[in-house]
Amino acid sequence: MLNTDLRIKIVEMVKRSGEGHIPSSFSIVDILDFLYGNILKVDSENPKWDQRDHFILSKGHGCGAFYAVLHKYNFITDKDIIDYSKRDGILGGHPDMRFVPGAEASTGSLGHGFPTAVGTALGLRIKNKNNKVYALVGDGECHEGTIWESAQVARNLNLGNLVAIIDWNGSASQLMPIDDLPAKWEAFGWKVSVIDGHSKNDMELVFKNISLNINGTPQVIIAKTIKGKGVSFIEGHGKWHHRIPNEIEFKNILDELSQ
């Protein structure tokens, strides 16, 4: 599974505006496309639909992928994409929930979206509603203390309507090499699954068989991903994290994605 069209859209947005995190977006774009296409109960005609599932992109800098997917599923328009990161646009380098249809939280500072998801799951349970809550968290973001505070809180409150998805692309281990995320989440009492975050088969097996209840053990899906997946010279860690491609690089990226 490699969503080349979505990846091209992301690169075009970044190139046009001079802003964006291409590799972080490439590592999550397949997951987002799968969620919006197969799992999330959402309505692009009515983004605030009372019965919707809530999706929170906690690693807000991966928003290039989020915008490309929101566009594919008709939450935002061609013009919104063209105006990305411009003065009168609604899309910026981190999502702003006050302007972006389908964005449940304004993220950017790491460690905020996931606690918000925990509170949303608790609030829905207090209101006796069956909506589900999904939060996509970066592995580097798991350095933040609030992630683990919230993991403890969610488990102790038995928030069985909550799913965390970790983008395990190896960013975290650049700084802290002891990085056994499945063991950490298991130690916090969560149900843990590990998948290949670029494999449609893996995602179908896990996401479609999840059983979510208003009371129960929260679940985490740890998705092994490749930062920059899809373009050989972007994959991995280093200068491409926040780099804007020049004309030659831009052409080379498009050439690889078009093959």
Binding site: A105, I126, K129, V153
Partner: protein
């Protein structure tokens, strides 16, 4: 005299009975005194843990689904430690929240500086959709909470352990309004919250010396009653601000703002007043904030015109 913390517990029980959206979250502070609420409404009471930033942050989720969160613990942990959560999860996203602290300034005087908190009011005031209240009695707190807890803003109630003894008529306790405690002609003291008690004693001292002190008291610092400051300062021409808050901000600055441009001063300010939403180049965002070259020139031109008119 009723303690403000007891009033908080009583008020949650009273409001909780009629407002099913009220949810109380604490960080293991006041857990005992809140038991009547906790036992009556177990689905709406959470002694979450010792994790204040997360308690504040997750309350944004409650707020998003239409509930009315009330978050409570002691001042340094709810405000200073959790400041980015308040700023981003509520300020940036424009979500409502009620924060109730105890133990501000020197209330925990025997516990050392880790538990002293006097920058909280300044910090919260920076966030544009915030209201800041420092009630000096249980009665003031109850009235102010009822007036404001459902407003679409970040309400911060700083509860003192040392209430003052001055009983303000209920009709004079209004969000954002100052209170003239006594008339005077020689000197004005502006004060806030529990400090009124000391100020009342100071007045007694000077009365015996035939010096007439006027006291202007505030239970709310944001929104602030600038008119009452101006009126009194014009009369006495001698003013003092007394507050258990940081000297680098707070009531003193608010009073200066009240007087700027009103007396024989031409005081102007350009600064960042809040979030600048949206995107664009550095210069474009700077212009939106009112700090571009054009905006500075315009400010000076207006100031000079006003001065010439005087």
């Amino acid at each position: 005299m009723k303690k403000l913390r007891q009033e908080f517990a009583d008020l949650m029980l009273e409001i909780g009975a009629v407002d099913n959206d009220l949810v109380v979250l604490v960080g293991d502070i006041s857990h005992g005194i809140l038991q009547p609420f906790a036992q009556k409404y177990p689905d709406r009471y959470y002694n979450v843990g010792i994790c204040e930033p997360t308690i504040v942050n997750m309350s944004a989720g409650l707020s998003k689904v239409g509930l009315t969160p009330v978050v409570h613990t002691i001042a340094p942990f709810i405000i200073e430690r959790s400041y980015e959560q308040i700023k981003l999860d509520f300020g940036y996203q424009n979500l409502p929240l009620n924060l109730i602290s105890v133990g501000g300034a020197y209330d925990y005087s025997q516990l050392g500086c880790s538990h002293h908190c006097y920058t909280d009011v300044s910090l919260i005031s920076h966030i544009e959709n915030s209201c800041v209240m420092m009630p000096g009695t249980a009665k003031e707190f109850k009235i102010l909470f009822n007036q404001s807890y459902k407003k679409n803003c970040i309400n911060y109630f700083k509860l003192t352990e040392y209430p003052h003894s001055y009983d303000i008529d209920e009709k004079h306790v209004t969000l954002g309004k100052g209170v003239k405690v006594c008339d005077g002609s020689d000197f004005t003291i502006f004060t806030v919250g529990s400090m009124l008690q000391n100020v009342l004693e100071v007045k007694e001292f000077f009365t015996k010396k035939n010096i007439s002190i006027e006291i202007i008291y505030f239970h709310t610092l944001k929104p602030f009653d600038h008119e009452i400051v101006l009126e009194s300062a014009k009369k006495t021409k001698n003013i003092l601000t007394v507050e258990e808050l940081s000297a680098h901000d707070g009531l003193h600055n608010l009073v200066l703002k009240s007087l700027a441009g009103k007396l024989d001063l031409n005081v102007n300010q350009l600064a960042i007043n809040g979030f600048v939403h949206g995107y664009g180049s550095y210069k474009e965002i700077q212009d939106k904030a009112g700090l571009s070259v054009d905006k500075i020139i315009k400010k000076i031109e207006i100031a000079l015109e006003l001065k010439n008119e005087q």
